[in-house]
Symmetry: C2
Subunit: 418 residues, 2 copies
């Protein structure tokens, strides 16, 4: 069969598998997950061998050392992968939950019941742990999954998916529960993105260019995770010591992630007290500042921030700083230049806090806390599928629940419509 | 400005308006709605005059009498439109509801709060009441709306939207809350469908070909409402008299709508008792039957049903009938040929009911009731935006709540991430 035909066949098989998975018990799904974790540990030697092949190919094709590090498996990384799957097994099963139930005047009882989304396709780049992670989350939520990893990790990903599939079959679930597209041929992804009759949602995990390209091409809904240009606004009424702790944490604790602060806004009334001190602390931590004119007057020796800076997700130890006239200006600035991801205000003023929470149009709005908490684990979801910047379906951190939909179950005793 | 430029300007204005609407109080929104209803009644003469122009143009361009009837306004229809808006004003406001709230071990309080979707575009065909209806629902849920009606109703729709906009401005809300695209130029819709930075969702209201064309072209998520090929399965353990009432109702009460029954499945053990009687009742009601071989043996003189029939949404007094061997066969048949809209079982058997509810993969699954109840009003939502056949975001009947999304509001007292 050609690539197109075999991808379509995989999608059809996934749809079939999804039917069986929708009614699989939590016990069965958890047994498959626990067994999968055990198999990964037991087959550590085989996985390392397959991974060595990928790494060797990557080296000879000139992959950067950062990418080689992401690609490389070790015994510890395989163990972490297995532990991750075991954690998913221990999470509560979202399927079957009655979201709401009510009785109509005519006696009909209507229940809104949580069910799996159906077939999920995950398209991702190098890191092979995504194979285990995405498959485990999809399976736990009763979905069939089609995986398309990076070509540089093909042997590793195929080996991981093979172990998962063995555990799944052993538990009595369909082998097409987890499938991996076994080719780097671009026709495969192109074909996959057109199978809207079999695939319910595409989840890309990777950089913004990957996500934009997939969204452009897909006829299936895509869960988007675009840039996080996150702000912290230090209000006139901020507790300055708290503002310092929060801003340092939001910028420095892990600068390369989407919920790190990229722009700091400071109310003009607090700027003379706040900016010099925070600037030295941030510089001590290795942060390069770029500021508006007023910032540069208060903190000499920093580069000017351009219009481009206000829109940039640095993912690095760089921070844009702007002094604003008022709370309203801060809100307008965030709604203009932000990406609707996570934004915080530091204030002791009740009404400023309320206005910020209400008027900033972002998935996560904070008062007096670091934006770094935007995360499925930190929110208490127990797992993270990703962070959605969509407004439809799921917004913000996605846990298992966001891999589900619902059906209405209507119980009658002969009702007809008049 | 050219068409493209002016549509983009409308979309930008809608995004601006959406910001203000998101924080508008229920009182303000309700005042705008009540006033809009009063204006439509007061300006009845003007609306009828504008409508006469549309009807005259429609006649001279050869519109069918059915379409002319849909297009035509009367005093009673204008009054019904106004009453509809008043009903929306009386519905509870979905915005601001706390969907869930919890406290994390570190003291962060996380609330999931319902907010408007943002900017909604509604693209619809002839019937001008959709202008008032869609605008009222979007406004109540705090969304800005861009309306694109059929070109044959342009004068009427523009007049209605003008009255709504006047009431909205009077209430202190932005005039761009409700905008209508004032041209039949196809460039307008094409441009609209590409404005994903300003428009959050497209809701098409019309036939399947309209929806498919829009989905094909749109870079914005589309709420789809595809065909409803709804089934009723009369189980071996059905109360036969109840099955008759339900099947007649599901087919005959209003055959031209998406939740009417199109295919009746009958268990072979009950078929000899059930089929002859129901067939005469349906034929008396004017229904034309098409059957499988076994049906035709039990009910002589009916046409054979083809593979094509099993997939057809007749929207007419035609019914496809099939005798099946078992509950499992009925479920497989529905999952194969159905459209995931609404399907019912008539049975007194506890476990058959449970299996049907669990295994039929449709938005609405019924036991012992007519599929005709799939409807926002019948579900108790108070209003209906449409019925979604999507799996993401909203599934089944959509009320005001389905025109919303959520944000996370996180309250801290200085938390930083370790």
């Amino acid at each position: 069969m050609d690539v197109e035909g075999s991808v379509i066949a995989m999608c059809k098989a996934a749809r079939q598998a999804a039917r069986a998975l929708a009614t699989a018990s939590s016990d069965t799904k958890n047994r498959a997950l626990t067994d999968a974790a055990a198999r990964l540990r037991a087959r550590c030697g085989h996985l390392l061998a397959m991974n060595r092949d990928d790494v060797a190919r990557g080296k000879s094709s000139g992959l950067s050392s950062a990418l080689l590090d992401r690609l490389m498996l070790t015994e510890a990384r395989i163990d972490a992968m297995a532990t991750g799957i075991e954690q998913v097994a221990r999470l509560p099963d979202p399927i079957g939950e009655t979201i709401a139930q009510w009785r109509r005047p005519n006696g009909l009882e209507i229940g809104q019941v949580r069910i799996p989304l159906g077939v999920v396709a995950v398209i991702y780049e190098s890191r092979p742990n995504v194979t285990a992670d995405a498959a485990a989350l999809c399976l736990k939520a009763g979905n069939a999954v089609i995986l398309k990893g990076g070509s540089e990790a093909l042997a590793t990903n195929t080996a991981i998916a093979g172990d998962l599939a063995a555990a799944i079959t052993q538990a009595g679930l369909p082998s097409a529960t987890v499938q991996i597209i076994p080719t780097a041929d671009r026709t495969a992804v192109h074909t996959l993105l057109q199978q809207s009759q079999y695939v319910d949602v595409i989840i890309p995990r990777g950089g913004e260019s990957l996500i934009r390209a997939i969204t452009e091409e897909s006829s299936i809904p895509v869960v988007q995770h675009y840039a996080g240009v996150c702000h912290t606004f230090v209000d006139e009424y901020a507790d300055v010591a708290m503002a310092e702790r929060i801003c340092v944490n939001a910028k420095v604790q892990r600068p390369g992630v989407c919920n790190a602060m990229e722009t700091m806004l400071v109310h003009e009334k607090v700027a003379p007290r706040f900016l010099p001190a925070i600037s030295s602390r941030l510089r001590e931590a290795g942060v390069v500042l770029r500021g508006c004119d007023r910032t540069r007057t208060l903190v000499p020796g920093i580069e000017p921030a351009t219009e481009e800076d206000w829109r940039t997700e640095y993912l690095d130890l760089i921070l844009a700083v702007k002094v604003v006239d008022s709370l309203s200006d801060a809100i307008d600035f965030i709604n203009t230049y932000g990406t609707g991801h996570s934004d915080a205000i530091v204030t002791e003023h009740y009404n400023h806090a309320r206005r910020f929470l209400s008027e900033v149009d972002s998935a996560c709005v904070y008062v007096n806390a670091s934006t770094r908490f935007t995360d499925g684990y930190e929110f208490g979801f127990g797992a993270e599928v990703g962070i959605s910047t969509n407004r439809l379906h799921a917004r913000g951190p996605m846990g298992l629940r966001e891999l589900t939909t619902y059906k209405y179950v209507i119980l009658g005793n002969g009702q007809i419509r008049e």
